[in-house]
């Protein structure tokens, strides 16, 4: 077993422990548990970074080529985007939701074969890692926006129906969740645009403008971009917010996931 894969497994266990601690905090609301969860999560994120660097050294290229690598990179981006967000804002129990997503992605990544694949000719371009990592980090911010949207809908439902159940005391104010949505979108969307742009140049370089491939990945990523563009437009010009913005964020993120599925299908086929 390679050194980098060992790091992957340790960070996986770290995330699992952090998730367990966050869930205990979510149910019990004991503050000392939360501080443990934060430390464990931070440590796991650092180990995960070490895993990615080690894999880069081992493979000799940025590890975003196989299914395992791509999803692992995605969950790594979510971890660090969450931590960067945490550094500026506090949103009650956001960490619980974020770690659950990170752990789910880590499970998927762990299940995929983890051999290092040689680069295909098209991936040898220097633009490929730039395009791929920009897109992944953008997707991570959009994933956080989606989590914020789900939390918003849960809290809004209890406030509107005036039936205060489990989530009322555990979730933050609607305002905080709406701000979270805005913050993540206004970082995620420009990054996504940049990712699309570099992708376009990369495609132009390798295909030279001929044989434009209308594969589902490209079509879906364009649909996704238009969804977010519409949401951003409505948000900033019409003052869309709250429930509508939350629903739109979740729908648009579903499109992101679909794009990822098409992308990974391509990568998987190439790997086989």
């Amino acid at each position: 077993m390679s050194y980098s894969y060992l790091l992957f497994q340790i960070s996986f266990v770290g995330y699992l422990l952090a998730m367990a601690a966050y869930l205990v905090f979510f149910f019990s609301q004991k503050n000392n548990v939360r501080s443990i969860a934060r430390k464990v999560f931070f440590a796991a994120a650092i180990l995960h970074s070490a895993n990615i660097v080690a894999r880069l050294v081992e493979a000799g290229h940025t590890p975003i080529t196989s299914v395992h690598e791509t999803i692992s990179f995605f969950s790594w981006s979510i971890s660090w985007c969450y931590l960067s967000f945490r550094w500026r804002y506090t949103v009650k129990n956001f960490g619980t939701f974020a770690t659950v997503l990170v752990v789910i992605l880590m499970i998927v990544s762990a299940l995929a074969p983890h051999e290092i694949l040689p680069l295909t000719p098209t991936q040898r371009s220097w633009l490929f890692p730039v395009h791929a990592s920009l897109a992944m980090i953008a997707d991570a911010f959009l994933a956080l926006a989606c989590i914020g949207g789900i939390m918003y809908l849960l809290q809004e439902r209890e406030l509107k129906q005036k039936r205060f159940g489990f989530f009322y005391s555990r979730l933050p104010s609607l305002d905080a969740l709406d701000k979270l949505n805005q913050h993540c979108l206004s970082i995620g969307f420009p990054l996504m645009t940049l990712g699309m742009f570099t992708g376009y140049i990369w495609a132009k370089l390798i295909w030279g403008g001929r044989n434009w491939h209308w594969d589902p990945k490209i079509v879906w990523s364009m649909i996704t971009w238009f969804l977010y563009a519409a949401l951003m437009h409505q948000r900033f010009t019409m003052g869309w917010r709250g429930r509508r913005a939350a629903i739109m964020t979740i729908v648009a993120f579903m499109a992101v996931l679909l794009t990822l599925v098409f992308l990974l299908k391509g990568v998987g086929a190439h790997g086989a």
């Binding site: 104010s173 609607l174 003052g239």
Partner: protein, 427 residues
């Protein structure tokens, strides 16, 4: 020679009607009544608490009956008859008194269980007592303990966390919607008492502005002045919706004042900034359909009552936990108190000396195996006599009738010198 009894005498909102409580309340501050209590020779240590819901005296004495009579006469004479006082006063001794004090401090005995004010009042009262040096070793320790018990109750239970009045509930909901209320504006429709109360709480949360709309402008102006706000007429109501965030409505009108149709167009101009309507009027002022609009939350009086009820049941659950903590701490304090007597202290001292000499003997004799049984015997004898000689004066100090230092004080000194109260730290 026995230990003094701790006695707590008091009246509170549960036992005494307001009419009598008013007469008993010590409105003139603590200094005078404390000085008066100081003149009673039956009391040893004493302390006094007076709030709008209770008057309580806590003291230590040797003759409980005498002290009770003197204290009651001193504090309440001339205000109400002895018979009236006897009817409503409660008296707790020792363990019960300790428990009662802890219950009061942690706000389990308050009119609004869980309110935080009482601890401040208790500390204030204690400050006067300690300035006058009317509290001694036992009461000092007891009162300090009551502060830490309160802290424990607050950190380990959520007793103070929920809002149990309508205005508090409104503030709590506002926080769940807006997060911070600091930059929010409030509009009162109708200038009734309920509206005023709600506004007071919101202003306490630091809202930016209060706007008052009323049928008669004079009343609106008066109320607005109280909150440094501005008054408007009812006709301007819909226009104002664009600028305010929280609306409290409490008019006596029989018809709806705002309908869904009035509010809907405003949201576009507000760029969908949330609105929070609170309708405390009966019959209702606001169209219930307003709640169906996006980013608008409408709560009427029943909804708010539901929140209050929910919080009350939550709080009652927490109160059970809190009572358990109080019991635990009462037990701990009582056992400390029991040790504060001469006999157990002497026994503990002797055991301590005994243990030390046995332990050291075992260590020394274990290394010297060439000794004859006779030599061993005399070494053992020497160790025991050193230990008991060392204890001679401390024991004498405990037992003697010292004139300048109080017996409780002496016990305390000896116990802390020999570290009898937390032996685990002795190693």
């Amino acid at each position: 020679m026995g230990r003094d009894t701790i006695v707590l005498l008091g009246v509170n909102h549960k036992t005494t009607p307001l009419a009598i409580r008013e007469k008993l309340a010590l409105s003139g501050g603590y200094e005078e009544p404390l000085a008066a209590l100081g003149r009673l020779d039956s009391l040893n240590e004493y302390y006094l608490l007076s709030t709008c819901n209770r008057v309580e005296v806590l003291f230590t004495c040797s003759d409980v009956q005498l002290a009770r009579r003197q204290v009651l006469d001193m504090l309440f004479a001339g205000r109400v008859t002895r018979k009236e006082v006897a009817g409503c006063i409660y008296q707790h001794e020792d363990e019960d008194a300790i428990q009662h004090l802890f219950l009061v401090a942690s706000s389990l005995d308050s009119m609004i269980v869980g309110e935080a004010q009482i601890l401040g009042q208790l500390k204030e009262a204690y400050r006067f007592a300690s300035e006058k040096k009317s509290s001694g070793l036992v009461l000092n320790k007891l009162l300090h303990k009551s502060f830490s018990v309160t802290k424990r109750v607050r950190t380990e239970t959520r007793i103070g966390a929920s809002a149990v009045s309508i205005s508090y509930a409104a503030v709590e909901l506002g926080r769940k919607i807006f997060g911070d209320l600091k930059d929010k504006r409030v509009m009162l429709i109708g200038a009734g008492e309920m509206a005023e109360l709600a506004a007071e709480h919101l202003v306490g949360q630091g809202v930016k502005e209060v706007v008052v709309a009323n049928r008669t402008l004079e009343r609106a102006v008066t109320l607005a002045k109280r909150f440094h706000g501005r008054a408007i007429s009812l006709e301007e109501l819909v226009d104002q919706l664009e600028h305010v965030d929280i609306i409290v409505s409490s008019t006596g009108a029989t018809e709806l004042i705002l309908t869904r149709g009035d509010v809907q167009p405003v949201m576009r101009r507000r760029r969908n900034q949330p609105l929070f309507f609170i309708d405390i009027a009966v019959p209702r002022d606001l169209d219930p359909a307003i709640n169906e609009l996006d980013n608008i939350y409408l709560y009427d009086i029943d909804d708010l009552n539901n929140v209050v009820e929910m919080n009350k049941s939550e709080r009652d659950k927490e109160a059970v936990k809190a009572a358990r903590i109080v019991d635990e701490e009462t037990y701990k304090f009582s056992s400390w108190l029991e040790n504060m007597e001469v006999t157990p202290t002497i026994i503990e001292l002797r055991t301590l000396a005994d243990q030390i000499s046995k332990k050291e003997l075992a260590r020394t004799l274990g290394r010297l195996d060439s000794l004859s049984p006779k030599e061993k015997k005399s070494i053992e004898k020497m160790a025991t006599s050193i230990a008991s000689k060392m204890l001679h004066y401390p024991l004498l100090y405990l037992k003697s009738d010292h004139h300048c230092v109080d017996q409780q004080e002496r016990i305390g000194v000896v116990r802390s010198l020999f570290n009898l109260d937390n032996p685990q730290k002795s190693e």
